[in-house]
């Protein structure tokens, strides 16, 4: 699935300090019926929290309150738990998010996000709280995410936080590659493996 490569992103951040945001909230099941990736899943991002049952935007919901073109989301613990639906990553991407910062992430979501050009960075408690306070006081705060340099910075560079990322994943994100090409290029080795493999 093609996506725009990521290098350095500087953007405002939408604060969404909620724990255990599950993929059913990120995109409810009834919006999973498309058969093409070309559908705009961004419109349905957080649908039940974002709109009233009549389709009106709820003003207090983060995406409505902090409208603008932020490409960074800040969430709480265990973000993306629940269903494996990749539509959750597609909805975030289509809406315009390229980075999700959170206290922690659920495993499948993390993989789905990375496979779709969304950089996920878990933040330690102190940095999380510091950043959250900063954004809540000043919603125009710019945060810089430097993927090759493996750090995020804010408050005009006064706060710098280094993060770990698997080098291979990082390379894929910087080049807009996915793992499928990598696997398909290794078919010979896979066939060789199969020949020795007599499980059934």
């Amino acid at each position: 699935m093609a996506y725009e490569p990521i290098n350095t992103i500087t953007s405002t951040v939408i604060p969404f300090p909620v724990d255990n945001v599950d993929t059913d909230q990120i995109i409810p099941a009834r919006f999973l019926k498309a058969t093409s990736r070309d559908a705009d899943f961004g419109k349905k991002l957080f649908a039940d929290w974002r709109y009233t049952p009549g389709g009106e935007p709820k003003p207090e919901f983060a995406l409505n309150k902090f409208a603008g073109n932020s490409s960074i989301l800040l969430a709480g613990e265990n973000f993306g738990c629940g269903s494996s639906r990749e539509h959750a990553a597609w909805a975030l991407y289509d809406y315009g998010f390229r980075v999700v910062l959170a206290s922690s992430f659920a495993d499948i979501f993390k993989t789905n996000a990375m496979n779709n050009g969304i950089l996920v960075i878990p933040l330690p408690a102190d940095i999380y709280q510091d950043l959250l306070n900063e954004i809540q006081q000043n919603p125009n705060t710019q945060v810089k995410v430097d993927l090759p340099g493996k750090h995020i910075s804010f408050r005009n560079g006064l706060v710098q936080h280094g993060f770990d990322i698997n080098p291979f994943r990082s390379q894929c994100l910087q080049e807009g590659l996915d793992l499928l090409d990598f696997l398909v290029a290794r078919k010979d080795q896979i066939i060789k493996f199969e020949q020795n493999y007599l499980s059934f």
Partner: protein
């Protein structure tokens, strides 16, 4: 002396290559697909002009979207019909067997895999659905994947995966009357929360696990994903082997003994070291029910919802938000509170044993008038078996109706939705906001507890109705 965990034994056997960064190219034995998470993967293959590398290792079913009544008629919802017909044409184009609504083997993907003998000990199994962990009941490494990974498996029969950590959860002792595998799962969840297993693969062991039926082990492994784990499994034993004997895709008599020999080597060595280890006493586990909006928010059925003072500070916001959504009060008791819907079904509790449990409790009673019940078998074979055993008749006498198979109200992609604000005691696996329909309020529980609610109309302790 060898000291490997079963997880490592299976993983190592499937490792095609170890990459520099420590991740593995992992070979996948079985790939199950369904209509919701496969269309964009097929679209991707077509765009790249790739074929399915090993179509004989992929099996498809229609389950998430399907109606559970009048399955012989065209599907009414246009988008659902469109997705089902995309699955039909994609599987035809790429040479993948499809068990669609007209097929006697149709059903929920995690119910039919074991039932057909496709799921076998020691395998690696993936599916674009998080509850793929269900297949762990047979001693497999089975886990859910996203659509990009569905495409990768179709194109190469492999995935790139970081080896997860291992966790052992031991449950020793005897389960009390009226306590099922579902209660064990909800109990563990109430102890470790929905991220207690993050980054891990869980092995369930101990005498209480050995004494569970295969169906029970499937319910438990099914819920391991709710613990945040990549998956969970139980080392296979005689129960697993005899379950598989004679099934459509099980090894036939000429290969059976060889397979059995291989399967019998599937256990964690006695000196194996796990990254994390937990143990519980089976006798401490009561029938459980959830009060909140994630599966970790569970309590013993006869206890009260906690007060916020009893929780960690970090949990308070979530807790209060959940209570508001559910319209429950801190410190109040659930027993006796009014219920509108009961859902028996899903890949957690939609197997024959679950229907038997439900029927055993409602027998001789009548459905409470305020209850709308959805009784949905997990597969056509489960439905047939239930009819053969006359369970449908007992259900009818009590005012219930056995529907046709599918995921149904587990995720409410079809017409089986719980209306906003209504309470549903559900045997499924997720009580997230809106999971069973926008605004729906879900209380997760076992088939016994669902049955007790169905005949009383309120949350009830099933032990009072079991002999």
């Amino acid at each position: 002396m060898s000291n490997k965990t079963l997880f490592d034994k299976i993983w190592d056997k499937h490792e095609v290559m170890l990459l520099e960064d420590g991740s593995s190219v992992l070979y996948i034995d079985r790939h199950y697909i369904h209509e919701v998470t496969s269309p964009q993967a097929f679209e991707g293959l077509k765009k790249r002009r790739l074929s399915v590398f090993r179509p004989e290792r992929t099996f498809a079913t229609a389950d998430h979207n399907v109606p559970t009544m009048n399955q012989d008629l065209p599907v009414k919802d246009l988008e659902s019909r469109n997705q089902l017909s995309a699955l039909d044409s994609n599987t035809k184009e790429f040479g993948i067997p499809l068990y669609d609504l007209s097929h006697p083997w149709n059903g929920i993907v995690h119910v039919i895999g074991p039932e057909l003998g496709l799921t076998q000990p020691g395998m690696t199994i993936v599916c674009g659905d998080s509850h793929t962990s269900t297949h762990g009941a047979f001693g497999t490494i089975a886990f859910g994947i996203g659509t990009s990974e569905v495409e990768m498996v179709m194109a190469s029969q492999c995935l790139v995966q970081l080896r997860p950590k291992t966790m052992l959860i031991k449950i020793e002792g005897e389960l009390n009357k009226g306590v099922t595998a579902k209660d064990i799962a909800l109990y563990i969840l109430s102890q470790i929360g929905t991220n207690g297993g993050t980054g891990h693969f869980i092995e369930f062991a101990g005498s209480a696990i050995s004494s569970l039926s295969i169906e029970g082990r499937m319910s438990l492994c099914n819920m391991s994903i709710e613990m945040g784990a990549r998956g969970g499994f139980v080392a296979p034993d005689e129960k697993a082997f005899s379950y598989l004997k004679g099934r459509e895709f099980s090894p036939d008599s000429s290969n059976w003994n060889q397979s059995l020999d291989n399967w019998k080597a599937l256990f964690s060595d006695s000196g194996a070291v796990f990254d994390t280890q937990l143990s519980y006493d089976a006798g401490q586990i009561p029938p459980m029910i959830t009060f909140g909006t994630n599966p970790g928010m569970g309590i013993p059925i006869n206890e009260k919802i906690p007060r916020k003072e009893e929780l960690k500070d970090s949990q308070t916001d979530n807790f209060l938000k959940a209570l508001k959504y559910m319209d429950f009060n801190e410190g109040s008791s659930l027993e006796g509170s009014s219920v509108d819907y009961v859902f028996l079904g899903s890949c957690t509790n939609g197997r024959i044993e679950d229907i038997r449990d439900f029927v055993s409790l409602i027998k001789g009673h009548k459905k409470a008038e305020n209850i709308t019940a959805l009784i949905v078998p997990g597969s056509k074979q489960v439905e047939e078996q239930a009819r053969r055993e006359g369970l449908d008749k007992t259900l009818e006498q009590a005012g219930f109706e056995l529907r046709q198979p599918g995921c149904s109200a587990c995720l409410a992609m079809n017409d089986d939705k719980i209306p906003a604000g209504k309470y549903c005691v559900s045997t499924s696996n997720r009580n997230f906001e809106g999971r069973q329909g926008p605004g729906a309020r879900t209380l997760l529980a076992s088939p016994f507890t669902a049955a007790a609610a169905a005949i009383t109309g309120v949350v009830s302790d099933p032990r009072k109705y079991l002999y």
